[in-house]
Each structure stands twice: as C-alpha cells, then as structure tokens.
Amino acid sequence: MDLIHFLKEHTPRWLEGNGQYPEMVVSTRCRLARNLEVFPFPHMLDEKQRDEVWETVMDVVQGIPHMQEPRVFQVLELSELERAFLVERRLASVDLVRSMTRGTGGVVSSDETVSLMINEEDHLRLQVILPGFQLDEAWATLSELDRDMGSKVEYAYSGDFGFLTTHPSNLGLALRCSVLLHLPGIVLSRKLEAFARLLADRQLLLRGFYGEWSRALGNMFQVSSRRTLGVTEEDMLDEFRLAVIQILNMEKEAREELQKEHKTALEDKIYRSLAILKSARMITFQEASLHLSFLRLGVGLGLLLDLPVQVLNEMLMFGQPAHLQILYDHSMDSEERDVLRARYFRTKLTSLHLT
C-alpha cells in the first residue's frame, strides 16, 4: 500500500530528537475525542452509516491547514503485518486495526505530526505528536486543528458535559496528554515505588508504548493525564506539565547519585552496550531495547556526543518486529528477525564512527 511504502522511507518528525529534554522525553502527544452530532456513535452504526461518517470526515479534512498532503488508510485494505506496523508507528490503536469494518481507518499528515483515527471508539480521534517535551506547542496545533474541523462539521456537545463521547471516561474536554519518558535513573536506583506514588498522587496513568516495547521495555514509560471534567484546558495542561517536570527532576537526581557513586560501572555498561550493538549477529528486540537505553543514557550524561538522539529513536522504531519486516520487505520468523535486526543496528552505528 502507498501509505506504508511512504512511511517506510521516512522518519516521523516526532522521532527527530529535538524539543526540550529529547533524551528523557522522547515525545509529547495530545489527543482529542470528538463525535459528529448527526450520527449515532460508531458502535451503533451499520455499514452504510459508517461509510457516511467516513465520507463526511474526508470532505472536512480537505483544505484544513494542518492537514497538508493528507495520506489516508482504511483498515480493511491492510494486511495483518501492515496493521501491526501502523500500531507500532502510533498512527493506529489496537482497537482501530482490530475493527474489520467499513469506514474504519485514519488520515496522516506528511510529517506524521497530525493524524486522525476515524470510527474507532468515537467518530474522530485527533492526535498531535511532537519530539521532546513540547506540551504547549502540541496543544496549540491540536486546538487549531480542532477549531478548523469543528467549524466545518458539528460536534456532539452539551454545555453541561462538554464534548460527548462514547465512553463516559473521556467526557468533558475529551483531551488526553501524554509523554513517552526514558527513565533509566529511576529504574537503576530502584526508585520505582516513589515514582508509582507520584503518579498516583498526581492522578496520572502509566501505559506502555504500543508495539513490542511496552512493559517498561528499554526503561521507557508512557505517562498520561486523566482529568477531563471539572477543569479548564489551561489548568489541566499546567497540572500535567508540573507533574512531568517533577518526574524529570526525580530522574535527574537519580542519575546524579548514580554518577557520583558508580561512575565507572555506569560508563562500563554504556560502552559495553555500544560494543554489543556494533557487533552482535543476532539480537532480540527486548535485549536491543535495553542496550539502546544505555546508549541514550550515555548521550544524556555527555559521553556519546557524536550519537544523535534521532538515530536512537530510529533504531527503537525500526527494530520493532513489524517495522523490521516492512523495512526488509518480507515476512520473517523471529530468528530471521533477530539476524536482520542485528545487521540493521550494526549498519546504523558503524556509519557514525563513534569513539
């Protein structure tokens, strides 16, 4: 499919490794749930109505400034591998790609910053992802997109409850913000309980990163906001920002302690990881993600200055099973994946001439 071919050849803007704290905050994401007033919610629709929702959204997307050169996919037209690829890429949710019905799919802007899901749990899920910690920027883009779409088509809304969503948990602002965090300091210094308490106090959710790297794979954690009713957009964003900064401070402190007490041991681990990724002939994604985390930590500690965060992000993205198979253009068993993954990492790292 055209879209998949396009995505394979490009690095999404949110993996470019810039923005604030790009080594600790991989990306910032904001998303809104919206429904169209004139249709019942997606799970109540027959095929004809799902098509009508699809057509309505396609009309609306035309001429939206944040949706230049939109690329479109329908779940029914994708192979299972392509569906897994879009989930890894964070352009589709598992629920979206499992819904094998007409009118289900998405729209993606050419740099992948802005995307929509159509006929998932709600008619529309609008998403903006940016690299690093860029909460205000992500929200500014998302609210402009929302304003443009909401003036062309009427959303389901009530003065009391706000934006009306299929599931009551999203009711209200129907906005969720999340950051993908790299927290090796907290993990290595065994501060996870304090981290868990902080999340609970701040009413935050902890999620894994879709694709194969959740379950804190590679010391990556996705933290997202929960409050959406009884709070203004600004207050909600402020609360979330403060909570993230608190987590980042906790991580910085943990790293300083580690550096003070175990400096050589830490450097040893970082350079061993570099050696393994430069030499391994077979590597699982799980093992690779751990070594990539040490390299990322090395960048954060100022050791591997010639290693761009973007390259680490690309290795984490394209090292995932579906990405690897799309990259090499054929389906593979896990053994072959491990071989090609190791080759991909070697090629990437040897071209950099790291010392």
């Binding site: 909401g150 809304y157 706000g162 894994g208 009713l229 009884g230």
Partner: protein
C-alpha cells in the same frame, strides 16, 4: 474483584497486554500491576490503567434512584445496555439518561458534581436553538402523554420529527 495474579488483594488496576494486534486484559492489584509493568520484561507490550479511586467505593445516599427503564428515542440504546458496557449510543443518550449521568461521572471522574469547564463550543447557533427546543419538547411530550392529552402529544411529536429532519439526524429508529 480480587487480583488475578496474587489473589491476595483487591484488584484496582487493569493490565492490557498487546501482542501483535491482540489485547489480553487482566485485573490486578497495584502491587502486581507495578511489579509486572517494570519487572524483567518479557517480549510482550503492556498497558497499565489504574481505576480512579472512586470506582472502588460504591454508592452513597441522598440521590435520586437510578432509572433503569429508559431507552434513547434517537438511537434505541437502553440504559441497561449502557450499564453493561459503559458505552453510550449517541449524543442524545446524554439527554435521555440525564438523571443517571452523574453516576457515570462519579464512576469515571471521581465526583458526581463535576461538569464541563472548558472553552464553550458553538458550531451553529441556529442548530443549537433547534436542539434545545427539541429537548424541551421531549419533556412536554412525556407530560402530555402522562396527562392523556393525546391530541396535544401528537402535535408535539410532529414538531419533534420536523426538527429532527431539519437537523439532518440519521437515526436507527427512524
């Protein structure tokens, strides 16, 4: 419900494992949730969602009883279905089940009194006025039927249909 992993503590987290395009769900306690989320990773992705605190405490007094007999006139969804799945059927469901909505808000947002405080949204004031008129007429219709004023009820119903047509609503009941 008890934790499906240790069986010792009350489950207050939902763990979702993502394998390819499949999801496996497990209800677990906070201890196990965190242990699994950060333990030596298996090659399985996972998503951890803790329930809002209020979901654990049930019910207090001094509030109107839950209306279980309601069905949305626009999409045909019954409140019993909503209770089972926590999925509403259409925008109108929020008006139809309005007496019960604070219970859902309490369950998912922590307190029944919470209301929208974000920026107001208006797509088209004319449409908004039509929808508000329709909501008023639905109440009047119920009243007229209760008082057995059937002629009046029929007139109200005609006006409601007319408004729905003007709004361009597609409905699974029409």
């Amino acid at each position: 419900m008890m934790c499906e992993v240790c069986g010792l503590r009350e489950a207050d987290h939902l763990l979702v494992e993502v394998v390819g395009v499949e999801k496996h769900k497990k209800h677990v306690c906070q201890n196990c949730a965190f242990r699994l989320a950060v333990a030596v990773p298996e090659e399985k992705p996972l998503e951890m969602v803790s329930y809002p605190a209020s979901e654990k405490r049930e019910e207090q007094s001094g509030r109107p009883p839950e209306r279980m007999d309601l069905t949305c006139p626009r999409c045909g969804r019954s409140y019993i279905d909503v209770k089972k799945t926590f999925l509403l059927g259409c925008a109108e469901c929020y008006y139809t089940f309005v007496e019960n909505i604070p219970r859902l808000i309490e369950k998912f947002h922590g307190a029944a009194h919470l209301r929208y405080r974000g920026a107001p949204y208006t797509h088209d004031p004319k449409r908004r006025a039509l929808m508000e008129e329709r909501t008023r007429l639905l109440a009047a219709l119920e009243e007229a039927v209760a008082e057995e004023q059937f002629e009046k009820a029929a007139k109200i119903r005609d006006r409601i249909r007319q408004i729905e047509k003007e709004l361009g609503w597609t409905s699974s009941t029409s």
